[in-house]
Symmetry: C2
Subunit: 343 residues, 2 copies
């Protein structure tokens, strides 16, 4: 048995049992892959795949078990390589992050600016997508970190570290009736207006509908979008009242939009950063987590690395200790945020 054979095996599986495609992906010849698969099957004395004529038809029960274990092996091989790089070139490598629009647009820029300053030689890949798309990238093992809100069940493979919590804000044009209200709007107030908010696939979204339903109200959602910028555009057009994540408030928005805190009206959301349990974290990855969630003590981070299950993690972080993120009003650079948390 050779590592190469296991690698080929996984490539075949990951390319829809097409040996030619696997060979292309591996930058090697197709007969080579075919032969190694055959050798592996001969050595083990069992069929890993069922054959349809000459083509591979499906995976046998035995094959699936071998594949599962081969994945563990290749993961550990990656881990060895990874930690070796970490000892040798501490400052180089790759960091792939998959996240949603809100994070990518409003939260991560500060973090990434800081990170790039510290690790200019680490090449960053930021993939933006819906929770489902992020989950796919996680499943394909293409990313180091996933950052999202809610949707715990989509990410059973990951350990999720809660990073911060946030409320929603109500966005209206400055001349809107709600902007002139001298008290905090209620759900009843909101229900009177057409609403513009995130699409339903989005993590905390169904909870928004539920909040209205609890009061016996039916919100009139006239428009949904994937991201806050689009929502703002339509709010500016007078299409309706926007409900967005607090972080999505830009200071520039004040010129024509009024943001009203909606804390209390909807349940708080928790944004987390997730990573694979069995993957080694390189130093710069740990530093990235520190930048993204400065409230995490190095002690907690250390324990996080050794956590075996999500329960271990949940035990580490009390949601009361999580920072609350707003938008423009408390627009502080990372360094300042750290100080506040550290105090």
């Amino acid at each position: 048995m050779k590592l190469q054979q296991l690698k080929y095996l996984l490539a075949i599986v990951d390319n829809g049992l097409n040996i030619t495609a696997a060979a292309d992906r591996l930058y090697t010849s197709q007969p080579g892959v075919s032969k190694q698969l055959k050798l592996l099957e001969e050595e083990l004395g069992l069929q890993l795949f069922t054959r349809k004529g000459k083509s591979l038809g499906g995976i046998t029960a035995a094959g699936q078990q071998v594949i599962d274990r081969a994945r563990v092996i290749m993961q550990e091989v990656e881990n060895i390589r990874s930690l070796a790089s970490d000892y040798y070139h501490e400052e180089e490598g790759t960091l792939s992050i998959a996240t949603t629009h809100t994070q990518a647009r409003y939260v991560l820029p500060d973090v990434i600016r800081e990170f790039r300053k510290r690790y200019p030689r680490v090449s960053l890949n930021l993939h933006q997508g819906t929770s489902e798309q992020i989950a796919d990238m996680v499943a394909a093992n293409e990313i180091d970190f996933a950052i999202a809100t809610g949707s715990h069940d989509l990410f059973a493979d990951l350990l999720l570290v809660p990073s911060y919590r946030w409320d929603r804000k109500i966005l209206v044009p400055n001349e809107h009736n709600l902007a002139r209200l001298d008290r905090k709007p209620t759900l009843h107030d909101l229900a009177k207006f057409p609403l513009v908010t995130y699409v339903f696939s989005f993590g905390g979204q169904s909870s928004l509908k539920k909040a209205f339903a609890n009061k016996g109200l039916e919100p009139d959602v006239v428009f949904t979008a994937r991201d806050a910028d689009v929502i703002k555009t339509y709010v500016r057009m007078g299409l309706g009242v926007g409900i967005v994540a607090s972080m999505a408030e830009d200071c520039d928005d004040k010129k024509d939009l009024t943001a009203i805190e909606a804390d209390g009206l909807f349940p708080r959301s928790t944004t987390w950063i997730g990573f694979r349990k069995d993957a080694v974290m390189r130093r710069y990855m740990l530093d990235f987590v520190q930048l993204f969630a400065p409230h995490i003590t190095s002690d907690q981070l250390e324990q996080t690395r050794h956590a075996r299950s999500q329960d271990d993690i949940d035990g580490l972080f009390a949601s009361a200790d999580l920072p609350l993120r707003g938008g423009c009003s408390e627009d502080m650079p990372i360094a300042a945020a750290r100080k506040v948390v550290g105090a």
Copy 2:
């Protein structure tokens, strides 16, 4: 990186950082091992060992991490081989068991007779030793099953499945005063005589001393041995009163020895069978467990295979359900024992 390199690496570590010894163990040439180590270090770009001149002095921090992961890899490779054999040659293989004298002498013979009947082509290795020696064999990954009593802390690496419980018996020569007693002897009665029993390293032993101490008694232990046969010999010589595991009573003993049940005088001991969490169990291994602990349902056994921690196992078995094993009096063949439990 090649599997061979990782194998060599582990062999070096397991042979006291002596490359020559490792090469011998691997049935290959010493320069080959040396070279592969060097290649591995070059590929990873880090020193795995510190050098004293040319000799290997110690393991570097990075080296230890690599070694740990290499062990996982080699374990999984073994698992793949193992399950492949299981699919192909269901009836062939090796089963290595490490256990204590009491099990090897009084409990296992029946089990092993039955097992050999069913799997004549599985070659059996039975290693007898003290709990500590068994733990060493476990640590060296030389055995499939460990069977012992108590000593949980020595076997943190294993998942321990409780198999049966047992009390002690008092052995005296037929003409001994205790043999003529018309009531069950008490600890006070026993404390009047010199005692012959197991050495202290033995699992449940300290509990024996404690049982006396609880009554404010100090037993007069005049002789200790590793096994019941030796104890019996000295009991026959009149050296003292023997206290042995119930299973150690042979029917032949009745000719000159009287066995008195000592249940209630000392705490019950639980004998378990342990195996490595991450190792694949071959079919014949599962069948061995079934033979050894027939009270385990196939359902429980299935869950046992997927247990991740000792706690998972402890949740599966209530100690009240464990069979109680005696010696000669209830000397039943395996098949009969199964029926009783199944009823």
